[in-house]
């Protein structure tokens, strides 16, 4: 089974709030000083899913694609160190400020250029913007079925059986191949790269494709960013007085009712 895994490099979600800054005029997040970007935490789970499927299938190739600046090479190398076979970086100044739809178009073009994919796996969302729409976008462009938020993926004859995570339980669906599946954190802990694999990954060449290589024009943003700002959260603390726990509870209930919260 030939599998393509899309991975993304993002600002470290563990960045302390004090170091997270936004340039409201430029509508951009200012990279935190001294905090290196990381692989989107959902993406190693997509890679893990690909590795398990490949192992179970007994063959095939896993290609990792990332769209981003040159540093995104590290996200690809991480997947290669986990055991993926090849890496492609889509990097072009034209992609610097593209929206989800343009991202989906670029990824779809790259997936077609890699060719012969039975399955495309992605993390359920990128933990920076947390929108989770790119899998659907790529599916729309390529005309492939899309199954989102998977906690389990199994090869089932010529297709897949996928267990999805819902708000109130799980759902099992079947999908034909080729298909796009986004993988959730419920899939389980991804394997950690062994040192030997890290060394082998370091020696592997990552192909770099530009917009011209993909034959695409990013065009105008479908969903232009209007404003980017950090909301100001104000909170007040009020200690509810009372001589007994019952009285304190009564006073609290009255306060909540007066505030129309209950």
């Amino acid at each position: 089974m030939n599998i393509i895994v899309c991975v993304k490099q993002i600002p470290d979600p563990e960045t302390p709030a004090a170091s997270f800054k936004v340039d409201e005029a430029a509508k951009k997040v200012i990279p935190a000083q001294g905090i290196a970007p990381v692989v989107n935490p959902y993406d190693p789970q997509a890679t893990e899913a690909a590795l398990r499927l490949k192992d179970a299938d007994g063959g095939g190739k896993i290609t990792v694609i990332s769209l981003g600046p040159d540093t995104a090479r590290d996200a690809i190398k991480h997947a290669l160190a986990m055991g993926a076979d090849e890496g492609v970086l889509i990097s072009d100044p034209a992609f610097a400020s593209i929206d989800n739809f343009q991202t989906a178009a670029a990824l779809a073009a790259a997936i077609e250029k890699v060719g012969d994919a039975d399955l495309i796996l992605m993390g359920r969302a990128a933990a920076d913007w947390d929108m989770g729409v790119v899998p659907a976008g790529v599916g729309q462009i390529l005309g492939l079925p899309v199954v989102t938020v998977a906690k389990g993926i199994e090869k089932d004859g010529d297709g897949l059986t996928v267990t999805r995570v819902l708000d109130d339980g799980f759902q099992t669906v079947k999908a034909p191949l080729p298909a796009i599946v986004s993988v959730s954190n419920e899939f389980g802990e991804p394997r950690y790269p062994q040192l030997r694999q890290i060394m082998m990954a370091a020696k592997k060449t990552v192909q770099v494709w530009s917009a011209a290589d993909l034959g695409i024009d990013t065009g105008a943003s479908v969903m232009p960013l209007e404003a980017l700002y950090q909301p100001k959260v104000e909170s007040n603390v009020e200690i509810i007085e009372g001589d007994t726990p019952e009285e304190k509870a009564r006073n609290l209930a009255q306060k909540l009712r007066a505030a129309k919260l209950v």
């Binding site: 790269p193 062994q194 040192l195 890290i198 370091a202």
Partner: protein
């Protein structure tokens, strides 16, 4: 000048951090209390190929340098495992260096792959009750008898001897008085720690309970000649070769422990409210912690510089010693400050600060005391008369 980690170093840090997340504080506290060797941890590190990080690739290692190994050990120590984690694998990382550099091909083939795979556990028999830092005074004798040596004597502070099946053993093959120089006549062996001829007695100690420290008594232990590394009588020179990397690794471990203690102290100081405000808003709390941050950062830069020098095949004695000195002092002070920041809770086992403090003291005392480091730096870096 590039201070950034290489992509491989980033992966080392991420990969080892991921392993260490499987061994939380509770694991290390349980092992601290039971004194059991952290077998699950060493197995995970061996399976990940981490034990061979600095060993040559043709024997199953990864051929990386001491800077990379220092990042590995820093990550291990910083996890909360402190020296109970670091010491459990420390010997595998650079201990076999004399075999790599001075052993013959047959020995390298015979010894290195099982060490890298974690199948062979070794210990390091150098220090003796009457010869600590003054290594030329060792009394353990290896007397040639045909195609073997017969070893008699005693070692002390031999870490992991309870678990080890091999020992890297320093023994005198020619009496000191018959040698031209005090460090001549000492040979280095890598051989079976044969319980039939060896008695191992564990030393009860302040910290690092999960990794045993021992007295080892040799009673007519036979050692085949083919287990001698390099030439007879040159063992001390062979040993010296590995001392600077060891200083660098011990420094990186001390910094890891100090950073972990500091991080816990800062977190506590942010959250703990006394007199209506977080204690971390008080400069009396802030300044010592900030000072520790600066000390640990400086020690790390010194450690990386010493590692870089070693990896470039440049002399690095004063730098490696200086790194170990600064790192141990900074690590110890950070743990002390973490404890006073936590107040009484710092003394309680459940917050792990007291454990980090007990463990970082090893890096302060061993493998060389701060006093002798300063004497060495005074001599080697400042050209002052030798004082020891």
């Amino acid at each position: 000048m590039d201070f950034a980690l290489t992509p491989i170093q980033e992966e080392i840090r991420a990969g080892v951090s991921q392993i260490m997340r499987g061994f939380p504080d509770s694991y290390w506290l349980e092992h601290d209390e039971s004194g059991e060797f952290p077998v699950e941890f060493t197995t995970a590190m061996a399976e990940g190929g981490w034990l061979g990080i600095a060993m040559p690739e043709q024997y199953g290692g990864s051929g990386l340098g001491v800077a990379d190994a220092a990042i590995l050990m820093h990550t291990v120590a910083k996890s909360g495992g402190a020296m109970s984690a670091a010491s459990a694998i420390h010997i595998n990382i650079f201990g076999p260096n004399p075999i790599v550099v001075f052993g013959n091909e047959e020995q390298r083939q015979r010894w290195l792959p099982p060490l890298i795979r974690g199948e062979t556990r070794t210990c390091f028999g150098v220090t003796e009750p009457t010869a600590g830092l003054d290594t030329s005074s060792i009394q353990t004798r290896a007397v040639r008898d045909g195609d073997q040596y017969i070893v008699n004597g005693q070692k002390i502070w031999t870490s992991t001897a309870q678990e080890a099946d091999k020992i890297l053993l320093l023994a005198r093959t020619t009496p000191r008085e018959q040698c031209e120089r005090p460090f001549d006549g000492i040979s280095l062996f890598f051989t079976n720690l044969d319980r039939e001829f060896v008695q191992i007695r564990e030393i009860q100690k302040m910290g690092r309970h999960a990794v045993d420290s021992n007295e080892v008594f040799f009673d007519n232990m036979p050692v085949p000649v083919e287990d001698r590394i390099g030439e007879e009588g040159k063992g001390f020179q062979y040993l010296l070769h590995g001392l600077n990397p060891e200083r660098v690794l011990v420094a990186s471990e001390a910094i890891g422990i100090g950073e972990e203690a500091l991080s816990r102290a800062a977190s506590y100081a942010r959250d703990r409210v006394v007199f209506g405000r977080p204690i971390g808003q008080n400069q009396g709390i802030q300044h010592p912690l900030a000072e520790s941050w600066a000390e640990l950062q400086a020690a790390w830069l010194m450690t990386m510089r010493a590692a870089w020098l070693y990896d470039q095949d440049l002399p690095c004695g004063p730098e490696a010693n200086g790194a170990k000195y600064l790192a141990a002092e900074a690590g110890k002070r950070a743990c002390e400050r973490a404890m006073i920041t936590h107040g009484g809770l710092g003394y309680a086992k459940e917050l792990h600060i007291e454990r980090l403090y007990r463990e970082v003291l090893i890096n302060w005392i061993a493998p060389v005391s701060p006093h002798l480091i300063l004497s060495n730096i005074a001599e080697k870096a400042l050209g002052l008369p030798k004082s020891y």
